[in-house]
Amino acid sequence: MIKKIIKYLSSLRFTILLICLLGLVFMFGLWIPQKSLVKQLYFQWQANSPALVAFLDALQLTDIYTSPITLTLWGLFFLNLALVMWQRIPLIKKRIAISEAKITDPMSAAGYPFKKSYPLPDGMDGFSIIALLRKRGFTVIESGPGFYGVKNRLSPIAFGLFHLSFFLILIGGTLSIYSEFYGYLDIAEGESFQGGLEQYSQIPAPPSLAKIGSPPQVMFTVKKIVPLVSGFTETGLKVDLLDRRGRDHEIDINRPYVEDSTTFVLKGLGMSPLFVLKDPAGKEIDGAYVRLDCLKGKKDSFLMGGFEFKVKFYPDYVLEDGKAATRSLEFKNPVFDIAVERDKKQIAEGSLVRNGVLAFDGYRLEMREIPFWVKFTVSKEHGIPIIFSGFFLASLAVIWRLIWYRREIVGKVQDEGGERTLEVAGRSEFYKSLAEDEFKKLFSGIVGKSLRDEELNPSLNSHPY
């Protein structure tokens, strides 16, 4: 009974079934908004169809990638893979082994679709044929007049390596999940990050701590933030950092800051203007660098001195048909449109430029400077090198297996009536016609015949592609 179960669990049909089921899971994950990936869409959907979403929640289809069903499928997939690989090891050993038992009569050899005989020119014998085959990359063993040659003998090992890479990705992925620290960090020009948890942003979510390991032990100061924009396209975001050792780092999009296995990836940009509020007597009541998420037309607000200031930002301000607009995303003419509220009632509205003043109800709001702040995605995980090794190994192995596949030939040199003849049979993995063309070309070259051989198919040009 157990043997039957193991046999089924290790069958390729089961593998294909699992892959199809996983494919189905992925498709569900695409069509049904996933809670962890598209939160806003999920909550919107939940508000519109609460009963349907509750039903799908109960089936765990809204968190499908980490649901018990999916994890079970993955578990079975890797179990199946391990069993298949275990069973294949002796087969692979057998296939890469080379022995005299493989030397057979070419004309009656089973499983060799290519069979030909060639008259040999004077001076050419079995030894010279074998030497020429060796020059062309074949490993050849001989016994009497017969020989066996194989090219890319070790290619079946790549099968094992390709599937082993899946386990590397599994190990790396599991290690990453358990050791992952994830958080968001908002930091402005001139500010320092000391590594404390309290400095991480609580929006959109508080930092998630690693199950194994500590939060990142990283410290740096942001010296300068320079966004690069051309028209409406962000073409760069250069951030100069000074680390705890006093070394400068210039980072950008696609060039994160990495320290202590932690990656700081630039996720967003905002404005951090210095506002100063003065009372009717001209005395400063309050002042602060206010972190505003107001780029790309987003509205934001801040509280100061008992007032609420609702802000809209125009990086390249222009009036179009009497309405405020921006010509581009370039910071050529930065202007804040501010609506002032007190007790939820708007009391004033106006525009504010750098070193400008917005007067309302006797008060004055001044804007002294407009530095930037950036949002970092902070992630620390220990499995990444293992995962990338898995990807790299998979790529190498698939290239090795599918391009440098095995070719085998068996041959015999016969002496009959003073004439020497080479009889050969050949086969290759995966391809029959391509192999025939290849062997014809190989042996035509070896025995010195021209390619205008009546054996070659005249309707096919010299190149089989």
Partner: protein, 278 residues
């Protein structure tokens, strides 16, 4: 689009439309002599497309890498280029254009509807991983498209072989055995380049988004298409699926690639792969 880009893009579309009509004429009216002439016409279309790409490069300073329009423009160029190279090295395979040229025509038509405005290179695309990822993506798509084309030729020729009166247009195609092998060879090439594309994409994603895999719709569909072709290879090598079954697999599997490249961004706007700025 620039002035010259628009002109040459439309000329390309016109030529590919004529060529598609010519291929259909050649098969339906059993006139194989037209096929080499259509190949010259397609080569002319490719030249016009190259000029369009050059005009866009001159205006933006970068090759067309991002967005549906640029993907269709550059991807179509690679598919037609691959078709012509294969047809040049082996005249019996000129017929691959029967399937690839109409595919490219539809792709480019779709791309044209998808905001072909000129944009400078976005910051998120400024990395050498872009070239590796996108280059291998287009090699994979091109190879899968050729596999589909070989499959179409196979099915047409096989159906014709069962008729009492044969269509001479199919005589110039390779034999059914060779077409069957070609399908598999193109799938293999596509699978290798697809694997490299996914690997490069994961490494790039770690630097750009902070995570090597986010179950983004485009990522998920690229995994689905990779698995589809992986299953095809398994079915061929292990279960001996060949000929008609493999041909239909090659045609069906291409749909997953088309969804990955164009379908996802057409339907959803929450994908991390939306690199269009405006």
């Amino acid at each position: 689009m620039t002035y010259w880009e628009t002109i040459f893009f439309l000329i390309t579309l016109g030529i590919y439309a004529l060529a598609s009509g010519g291929y259909i004429y050649s098969l339906v009216f059993k006139n194989p002599r037209v096929m080499p002439k259509i190949t010259f016409l397609v080569a002319g279309g490719l030249f016009a497309q190259t000029v369009a790409i050059g005009a866009r490069f001159a205006a933006t300073g970068h090759l067309p890498w991002s967005g549906d329009y640029e993907s269709a423009l550059m991807g179509g160029w690679i598919i037609v280029g691959a078709t012509l190279i294969v047809g040049w090295r082996n005249r019996s395979l000129q017929g691959l254009g029967v399937a690839t040229v109409p595919l490219v025509l539809i792709m480019m038509g779709f791309g044209y509807m998808r905001n072909p405005v000129l944009t400078p290179m976005a910051a998120s695309l400024k990395t050498f991983w872009l070239y590796i990822h996108v280059y291998f993506a287009w090699l994979a798509f091109g190879a899968y498209a050729l596999a589909m084309a070989a499959a179409v030729l196979y099915l047409l020729k096989r159906k014709d072989s069962q008729r009492p009166v044969r269509n001479p247009s199919y005589e110039s195609f390779p034999s059914l055995d060779r077409l069957d092998e070609l399908i598999f060879r193109y799938i293999v090439f596509g699978f290798i380049t697809d694997t490299i594309m996914i690997t490069a994409g994961a490494i790039w994603a770690k630097d750009l988004w902070g995570s090597y895999w986010s179950w983004d719709p485009v990522e998920t569909w690229s995994l689905i298409s990779w698995l589809s072709y992986g299953i095809s290879i398994h079915l061929r090598v292990t279960f001996g699926w060949r000929e008609t079954r493999l041909a239909w697999l090659a045609i069906a599997a291409l749909s997953t690639v088309i969804i990955t490249f164009f379908g996802v961004t057409f339907i959803v706007n929450t994908s991390l792969h939306m690199f269009n700025v405006r």
